[in-house]
């Protein structure tokens, strides 16, 4: 981490009110993001890992102000994103973009790939007419789509190609920062590697910053030098990936890492198997959010009652656990 970060998130909280029941009479508050702070520096990738329902997607969308925050702050290049008026926000949108998990749902099936990529160019009046066509062609070529793709429709492409088109659409406005929300989770292994390589190449060529959200720890390790682990709306561990992957300090990270099957029949590892399912973000447990599933032998009363704050136990390596030590 160097100088001022490009993206600064401070104590961000996002709660949703759901109406449930046949007539929507009962309200439920989903505490999707519950006080998250993180930084992403220019040209850097921060990995964000966690299981489904932990709030990582909501966090990514809140940072881009696609979802309303409940409290907390997001600064992009020093500017408070939530303080911007609509016009300023639209200008800001040029600088930060998003790529989604499901390449089927993130392209409008009724727009050709060319028109989808062109949308951002038109919105921000970056080019018009033949010049815009030229830009679209160049973008599609840059992400590795065959010539002539612009006139074709999403259903005529494979999943990997659609994800490339989504990347081209995001790049069309020349952003500095991209939230990659599970960009390769829906793809087959062989295609996943292609798209990951593309993202790495683009970062090197264009100097991009990524917030790389994934449930796949191996993928995150591959792309992100720094990783944050999320559980029930909070970051429970945060630090350089080499540190986290080699010496995880939080019991949840330990369980997560040992649960991943390793494609090598000769490795035999001790596995920490967690008990039970993650609790609901509607009603998170008090104290440490992880305590009901925690297998730490030293689990005690304070785990149940006092919520641990992030503590720095090694340079740049923070853990939210009462029991963790180096």
């Amino acid at each position: 981490m160097t100088a001022t970060p490009l993206v600064e998130v401070r104590d961000l909280v996002t709660h949703f009110t759901h109406r449930v029941g046949l007539f929507g009479t009962r309200r439920e508050v989903v505490q999707a993001v519950n006080g998250v702070s993180l930084d992403v520096a220019a040209r850097e990738t921060l990995g964000l890992v966690g299981e489904s329902g932990c709030g990582k997607t909501t966090l990514g969308r809140t940072i881009l102000r696609l979802v309303a925050r409940t409290s907390g702050e997001v600064r992009f290049d020093g500017q408070d994103v939530f303080a911007l008026d609509l016009a300023a926000l639209r200008r800001m949108r040029r600088r930060m973009q998003i790529i989604f998990q499901d390449p089927d749902g993130s392209l409008n099936p009724r727009l050709s790939i060319g028109r989808a990529v062109r949308e951002g160019i038109e919105v921000h009046r970056l080019a018009r007419g033949a010049e815009a066509d030229g830009r679209v062609e160049a973008l599609l070529a840059e992400v590795g789509l065959p010539a002539g793709s612009a006139a074709r429709y999403p259903h005529e492409f494979s999943g990997g190609q659609r994800q490339r088109a989504c990347i081209a659409r995001a790049l069309a406005v020349e952003p500095e920062f991209i939230v990659c929300d599970e960009p390769v989770s829906a793809l087959d292994v062989s295609v996943q590697a292609q798209v990951l390589n593309l993202l790495l190449d683009l970062q090197a060529r264009r100097g991009l910053s990524y917030l790389f959200i994934s449930h796949d720890l191996a993928v995150v390790r591959h792309v992100a030098p720094r990783v944050a682990v999320m559980y029930l709306g909070r970051i429970v561990e945060h630090g350089p990936s080499d540190g986290i992957y080699q010496r995880p300090l939080h019991p949840y990270t330990q369980a997560l890492l040992t649960a991943v099957p390793v494609p090598d029949p000769k490795t035999k590892r001790a596995r920490v198997v967690l008990a039970g399912d993650p609790p609901s973000p509607v009603n998170p447990p008090g104290g440490c959010p992880f305590h009901p599933r925690c297998q730490h032998p030293g689990k005690n009363e304070s785990c149940r009652t006092v919520r641990p704050e992030l503590r720095e136990l090694a340079p740049g390596h923070q853990v939210a656990c009462h029991l963790a030590d180096r």
């Binding site: 973009q97 998003i98 099936p109 009724r110 919105v123 921000h124 429709y153």
Partner: protein
Amino acid sequence: MSPWRLAARRFARNRPALTGAVLVAALVLAALLAPLLTADPLAQPDPVRLQNQPPSAAHLLGTDPYSRDILSRTLHGARVSLVVGIGAALLAVTLGAGVGLTAGLAGRRTDQLLMRGVDVALSLPRIVLLLAVFAVWEEAPAAAVVLLIAVTGWFQTSRIVRASVLSLREADFVAAARALGTTGAGIVRRHLLPHIAAPVIVSASLDVGNIILLEAGLSYLGLGVRPPTPTWGNMIMDGKDVLFSAPWVALAPGLALVLTVVAFNLAGDGLRDALDPRAAA
């Protein structure tokens, strides 16, 4: 190939649907050309001797109790059915789409208000209202029939449209457009309207048949467009009194009704299948 062209191709490959579409086209043509093809539907060449004549060379479908030519009246009757059916369906769908879009895009309060209103409206007994209106409005022109049927018939469409707007608002491609900085109007125009067009077209085309039947029911009771203008409904009413002695009087307009409604339903089913988002490319 664009999704619309794919849908057109699916429709063209669907033989029943194509049959329906051809029939509809033929009916529209026949209704347009009715004055050229046949005699005056009001003419009563010989009120005494030509009453209730069975089909013959001179009168292919026979004559009615007023000695009028049934073929001519059946062709002319198509005009009311088609104008009311197509007109009211288009108008109803436009109203429903407007309200559905508003509800889906507006805030919670407006949405709730509109949708509760629609709930109430859906539980109104439509026929009683229509009967009451047309009983007092004796000289109702076809336009009034179109208007009233449409005004009492858009509720279901508004629900369908609202539901698709709500689910589209959650779609990732809409989130992507917002992230690109596309304005609200731009999102509606580029991303929402093209998607609700399909269910709206299907809803309209499946409505036509039902509306034609509704209009026929009203004019069978002597309401709506009234005699002597021939409608299939009032022709059947004329035939009712001579049902046992001259069944052809009621049979011809009835068969015309069935044929027309079958044609629209075939075409409507075909459109629904062709525009089904789940249909494979």
